[in-house]
Amino acid sequence: MLKILLLLPLLGALFISALPGRRARLIRQAALVISGATLAWSIWLASAFDPSHADVQLVESHSWNPRLGSAFSLAVDGISLPLVWLATLLAFIAILASGGIRERVKGYYLLLLLLECAMLGVFTARDWSLFYVFWELTLLPLFFLIDRWGGLGRQKAALNFVLYTMGGSVFMLIALLMLYDASPGHSFDMDAIRRGALALPETAQVTLFLALLIGFGVKMPIFPLHGWLPLTHVEAPSPVSILLSGILLKMGSYGLIRATWTLPAAAEALQGVLMTLAMVSLVYGGVLAWQQRDLKAMIAYSSVSHMGVVLLGVATLNSAGLIGAVMQMVAHGLVAGTLFLLAGLLYERTHTRDLADYGSLVAVMPRFAFFTILAFICAAGMPGSAGFVAEMHALVGGFERWGGWVVLLSLSVLISMAYAIRTVGRLFTGPASPRMQGLPDLSRSEMTAALMLSFGSVALGIHPGPMLDLIATSVGRYALLFGA
């Protein structure tokens, strides 16, 4: 079943490559149908998935390179399944929001579908070599998407992004190769690697974990490694920003959760480091987001802050914290997706991202105003949004470990409230700017996209039970490792 999930966008990309490049409408519709089918298939997976079962399910394994011990093996559990849903949903939304792309349409949709396939591969791989292949495979389409369809500084941004990520993944690759070397049967299978890793001395484990942390931390991003993020987000075309912040960042944190499972002793030894990094990211990202005048840069920095919540949840190494981390990945995926979607639509209409240029848009674009205000409320983690549930769990988990220190999380929530309110105020109140008159409000397809994402945020906030149960079953197995 998972094979089909990966094949759908891949075959779709092949199909699009066969279409004539002039038929832009046809290509767009084909891409929509393909990503819609992938979304439907990923939801259909739920029927075959048993949520009461903690281990990975829907396993498919084919030997790939027997001499090297790598296998094409796919599976999902309660941690990766929500992310698979998020990836297929956001890929669909990104394609839906790509109406503004007018040139080289064929290449654009082809790359987007390839990107979707690679992202789904990262979340479903059960073999570290396969994981690494898919991990690197996401870079190719992204590089071209940013480099060819981005803003003014797109070349620099694309290069910068790829260099940063490659730099990180070098460390990851070395760590994976050393783990492979240590594994008993010389296999890249995640379970086999874990068995080998447990036998290593603790200092070796800590070193390997640090290397993995650098690799995943660049993607996440964690505080000193986030240099690529603001530039890339500002320059990338908005649908790509949706995917970047919605899913690509989650690949880092997802890898980190798998790394704690592989090297539990190291994770426990580095718990303090992780927590410190999380707290710094939280406050640092929040303060810098507050400082920005550029709408997209602001959302990008707020991503650093929100991913700090994920890192905090992972660092707690207990059940509540890990649930919070996975939940926050989903919540932030939905919220960041909505915000970048709306920011992109606004940029398409106004060709400015400076907050000072906007004013009284509520009279001109009431539907846009509604969704933006809702998205900012969700981003600030108000009760009734998915972010609230996630932050609550991270807070509870963090409090169990470190007590009062988690007040920093509340501080960052406060800061995020400050810039959310300021932005809403700037966008929608004040004197009307003459340049902003007569802007068209959201079209039907744009509204569908915004509605789907906002509905997801609010529905998960009001009725989080099933999702929390799904995550908790799998996360419980991880938390048991650390005696909590």
């Binding site: 910068n160 000193p224 986030h226 640092y284 810098l288 700037r426 004040g430 009725h463 039970g465």
Partner: protein, 513 residues
């Protein structure tokens, strides 16, 4: 012997409150989509409304017959709304003679009022808005009647409050209508506070808020605890049923269109309090003091309604005060422990009043003689007459006792806010507005002590970010790589020359040897 099987599973009762709410949402959707106006829109709204409510009535009658023949299902637990640790908010309904009986009568009245208003509201500007309110109300009252626990009841209670606020303020362009809507809503909030208090206390002392838990737990509670819980519920009931001291809001509520008054204040909503207290019979049995209070307030309200009703000069007010005094009698019955009598009284009275209210607009045509003046004895006692005419000054009294002190407190707090808090966290509202209007260039700006601290740290962190983290982004990373590339190309060009290659080979040989 063959066991008769119920036609509808008991869980299906959840549809009854859901259908009118869905109808309200549909109408809202129609209106937002730009439809729902004009003749065709009115027809669509009529179909949605009547369809939903007829379906509900059918459903309730099936449940009623099923219950009469096969026995009442009683408390139907349908799982949790949500749960955390050892407390939970259940999703449960109560299906017994009282709830189903009163619910089917209520829906019948609602249907009559809805059918009536289809003609009455024809070509009114707020046709869709009116029916959204009516459907919200129908869903809310069914939630109240069928709820198996206090939280569902509270949800319905609030929906009724919302619908009532919407419809009293129906003619929102008239200041009196909005003022009255606000007043009625605020008075009802006092009752809601009581309901919340009662729920919190029963969680604390009984560990749950569903009716069976309350029923089973009440006898084991000390009288004081039981009385406190009961007091919360009784406050809510008094406010909703417009008993003393909350009566004045209901006179203001008449501002809404006649069919809504008929449904809300004449027939159905005023009886919600009676129903709630009848449901809580076992709890009231443990709180004799509270029962006495209910009987006393009920009796007082009955007298009050009777006296004030005599001097009303318009038909709606007269009917309303008659209703209030009848409901007062029901409260007396409740206070004396005759719950079943109160429930029957409520159901019959609701039917009768609904008919009276709906025909109120045509009374002027039906009467051939002038209305009777106030009776002789009342006119003789001038002070009583004046008091009745002034409705015993209840509203000015409430203003003097509650509104004015609240305002004074608010003024003091505002002064504190202006002088201390604003200095700490930002400027005063007035200053900020003028600033917003005058300069729009300065987007990122911290106000007050805390804001300035944030701005200061943001400034320094941003400098750090630019210097250290973004340097790669400014191109120095690429520049460095370029320099490395040039240097490597230079090395390579050296190696291409044979003499250097020879030197390298010789050096390698030397090292190996």
């Amino acid at each position: 012997m063959l066991m008769p099987v119920p036609i509808l599973p008991a869980e299906g009762v959840a549809l009854a409150p859901a259908l009118p709410l869905i109808a309200a949402l549909l109408i809202l959707g129609l209106r937002i989509a730009g439809r729902g106006v004009g003749e065709s829109g009115e027809r669509a709204i009529a179909r949605i409304t009547l369809g939903a409510n007829i379906a509900v009535e059918g459903l309730l009658i099936v449940f009623l017959l099923q219950g009469l023949i096969l026995g009442w299902p009683g408390h139907v637990d349908m799982g949790n709304w949500f749960a955390s640790g050892d407390w939970r908010l259940p999703l449960s309904f109560t299906l017994d003679g009282m709830s189903l009986g009163i619910a089917s009568v209520t829906t019948f009245i609602a249907l009559a009022a809805l059918k009536f208003s289809l003609t009455y509201m024809h070509r009114e500007a707020g046709f869709a808005r009116f029916f959204v309110g009516m459907n919200l109300f129908a869903g809310g009252i069914l939630l109240v009647l069928l709820a198996g626990n206090a939280i569902l009841l509270f949800t319905g209670w609030e929906l009724m409050g919302l619908a009532s606020w919407m419809l009293i303020g129906y003619a929102f362009e008239r200041p009196t209508a909005t003022l009255n809507a606000q007043r009625a809503f605020l008075t009802n909030r006092v009752g809601d506070a009581g309901l919340l208090l009662a729920m919190a206390l029963s969680f604390l002392w009984l560990g749950g808020i569903d009716w069976p838990t309350l029923e089973a737990g009440a006898p084991r509670l000390p009288t004081l605890y039981a009385s406190l819980i009961a007091l919360g519920f009784v406050t809510a009931a008094l406010a909703k049923s417009a008993q003393l001291p909350f009566t004045p809001w209901i006179a203001r509520a008449l501002e809404g269109p006649t069919p809504s008054s008929a449904l809300f204040y004449g027939a159905v909503m005023v009886h919600a309090g009676v129903f709630l207290l009848a449901r809580l019979g076992p709890l009231l049995a443990e709180a004799p003091g509270i029962s006495f209070l209910i009987a006393l307030l009920g009796a007082l309200t009955a007298c009050y309604g009777w006296l004030v009703g005599y001097v009303q000069s318009d038909v709606k007010s007269a009917l309303l005060y008659a209703t209030v005094s009848q409901v007062g009698l029901m409260f007396v019955a409740i206070g004396l422990g005759w719950f079943e009598l109160a429930a029957w009284h409520a159901a019959l009275h609701a039917l009768w009043r609904a008919w009276q209210f709906l025909s109120a607009p045509s009374y002027m045509h039906m009467l051939d003689a002038p209305t009777r003046p106030a009776p002789e004895w009342l006119r003789k006692h001038g002070w009583l007459y004046t008091a009745a005419l002034q409705r015993f000054w209840l509203e000015p009294l409430a203003d003097r006792l509650l509104t004015l002190p609240s305002r004074a407190l608010a003024r003091d707090l505002r002064a504190l806010d202006e002088n201390v808090v604003c200095a700490l966290v930002g400027m005063s509202e007035a200053q900020r507005v003028t600033e917003l209007l005058s300069t729009r260039e300065e987007v990122v700006k911290g106000r007050g002590v805390i804001g300035r601290m944030l701005a200061w740290s943001a400034h320094h962190l941003y400098r750090f970010e630019r210097r250290l983290v973004l340097q790669g982004g400014d191109g120095s990373l690429a520049k460095g790589l370029n320099r490395l590339g040039i240097w490597l190309r230079f090395v390579e060009s050296l190696l291409e020359q044979p003499r250097y290659l020879l030197v390298l080979i010789m050096a390698t040989v030397v090292v190996i040897l």
